[in-house]
Amino acid sequence: MAENVTTTPLDNADGDAVSGVEIQLNEVTKRYSGQREPAVDSFTMTVPAGNIVVFVGPSGCGKTTTMRMINRLIEPTSGKITIGGEDALSLDPDQLRRRVGYAIQQAGLFPHFTVTQNIAVVPGLLGWDKKKISDRVEEMMDLVGLDPSVFRDRFPRQLSGGQQQRVGVARALAADPPVLLMDEPFGAVDPITRGNLQDELLRLQEELHKTIVFVTHDFDEAVKLGDRIAVLGNQSKILQYDTPDAILANPADDTVAGFVGAGASLKQLTLLRVHEVEMTQAVTAKTSESVEEMRKRIDARGGRPFGLVLDERGRPLRWVHKRDLASGRRLSEAGRPVGDLVSKQSTLQDALEAMLTEGGGVAVTGGRGEYAGVLEMETVMNKIRELREEHGDGADE
């Protein structure tokens, strides 16, 4: 999975619903005048078409500078940049920028333009006719979850921070650019809104398949959004460029490890879903059945002396130990109630959390809440170990 980096240029016509194009940076250097050290030193990277690539790194390491060279808000001192195979440095910068979406922190909305006018800027610059523009504006507002009839004529200061960011994203996407550059676009909103905006970006991306370069300080954000993450050091040196999985499992060096931070394994568990690992099956019985029946099944299995009582619709109700199953009791009262459940869609991190409350394995449910299996602590441990080895390549040994 870490190895599937596309190196052949793709273009728009390539089908597969990938509307993004590949970006290549080749030994790109930026030297600000009056500074001895270059801010970006010989940066080489391929951003695969239709992927989200996240630049993370400490403040001042050159993330913004690197990104802004792609749309030439900053002119590279040397090097070569191609977007969808086209040499970006030979294009007219204004024309180039109309084809590259750009979203920044605080959204950068024009305060004297309405939401509509803000979103319509790039289509206007491209000379679309009025009808097409207004249709497109409506479409974009729907796309980012803003009701046009409510928000169309508002000015930015009449919007919340999160709504402004949505308009910022809508504006960046309005002319359907294959490439989107986002510089800490969600940096200035509260954590909950940020989480929502991230979810929405992922949902949009599922539909649109743009090539997105995303800059952030926040490693967790990078893990959540990135198809690939580039951890950058000073002068934009690429310390590691890989999938979130691989970086979490095996940071390239101590600097990256420091940036990944404590709890790398836990973060990694946010990337995996319960249905992706193996479950075990517990002994089960419905509340309508008798305790003897259940005891028999537990004995027949011969494993651990536990079982799970389900309600009539098959949903987990109670954990029972064999010794709880004295004759004469009813299953609906034996043992203790199930404390926490996870679904097949839950992340392994949620599952681990639930295991800690349950004090062992956790019951897993399917789409309608019905019992699907049990996830054991051991399975999760094994999975972590497996990931480490898979991405290890002997780097640690």
Binding site: Q95, P111, H112
Partner: protein, 253 residues
């Protein structure tokens, strides 16, 4: 909550002023004119205080003010815009210093020096030096107004593909308009006031009445000229306030 009431308070005060100021000006002018025409005037006074000469002086004063305004706009606005462009930024202090000198020097001095230097007379002699004297507020406010536009907005504009000219036209200038208009209002009030000096170079205007009244010791002529000059300045100030209110960008403030 308190911010809200404070804001709406100052708003309603502003609205009241918008209405009250012209009314007050008209009342004062009417009162002075009624007084002037109903008192016994000697022949010297009659020569100045009659409908046709008052209209002529006022008209001359207005024309002069308009010419000055045009000069101020034509010079200070483009100059101010230019001095905020990256390539000209280093020159900004130089031009501001020159404009400061223009304003610090006594207006009469600038006027007379220009007259002596060019040998011109009338509006041509009066308008340029008075414009020079009055242009600093527009120049400074144009520069400051553009500089205070959030650089992130300029960056966003360029970043989504606006040319630098489009960013200037659609973002920077509209957002600088409130300050530019405030500067223009100050400039115009200065200009209308200073235009009373135009009579030194045969520029006409209400200054003639003030001068006549003073030299020939006719208080009535002096009063009418002075009150009309003040009224004109207040009217211009009011026009400026109206402009600020209706031509400012929507969605901010």
């Amino acid at each position: 909550m308190s911010a809200f009431t404070a804001e709406s308070g100052s708003r309603s005060a502003e609205r009241g002023r918008l209405f009250a100021q012209p009314v007050a000006v008209l009342l004062i002018v009417a009162a002075v004119l009624v007084w002037a025409f109903t008192t016994d005037l000697d022949t010297v006074e009659q020569e100045s205080i009659n409908a046709s000469s008052i209209l002529t002086y006022t008209w001359q004063h207005l024309v002069l003010s308009v010419v000055i305004t045009i000069l101020v706009l034509v010079i200070a606005l483009p100059l101010g815009v230019m001095l905020t462009r990256r390539w000209a930024k280093p020159a900004a202090p130089v031009f501001l210093a020159i404009a400061n000198i223009g304003q610090a020097a006594p207006a009469v001095g600038v006027l007379v020096l220009f007259f002596l230097w060019t040998g011109l007379e009338g509006v041509a002699a009066a308008a340029p030096p008075i414009a020079f004297y009055a242009l600093l507020p527009v120049l400074r406010n144009t520069i400051v107004g553009i500089q205070q536009v959030d650089p992130a907005l300029v960056d966003a504009g360029r970043g989504i593909g606006m040319s630098s000219g489009a960013v200037l036209r659609r973002i920077e200038l509209p957002l600088a308009i409130p300050l530019i208009l405030a500067g223009l209002r100050t400039s115009l009030v200065l200009a209308v006031g200073t235009a009373t000096l135009a009579q030194f170079v045969n520029g006409g205007g209400l200054g003639e009445m003030i001068d006549t009244g003073y030299k020939l010791d006719r208080v009535s002529v002096l009063t009418v000229g002075a009150v009309l000059a003040v009224a004109l300045a207040l009217l211009v100030d009011w026009l400026g306030a109206v402009a600020e209110r209706y031509f400012g960008p929507k969605g901010i403030g």
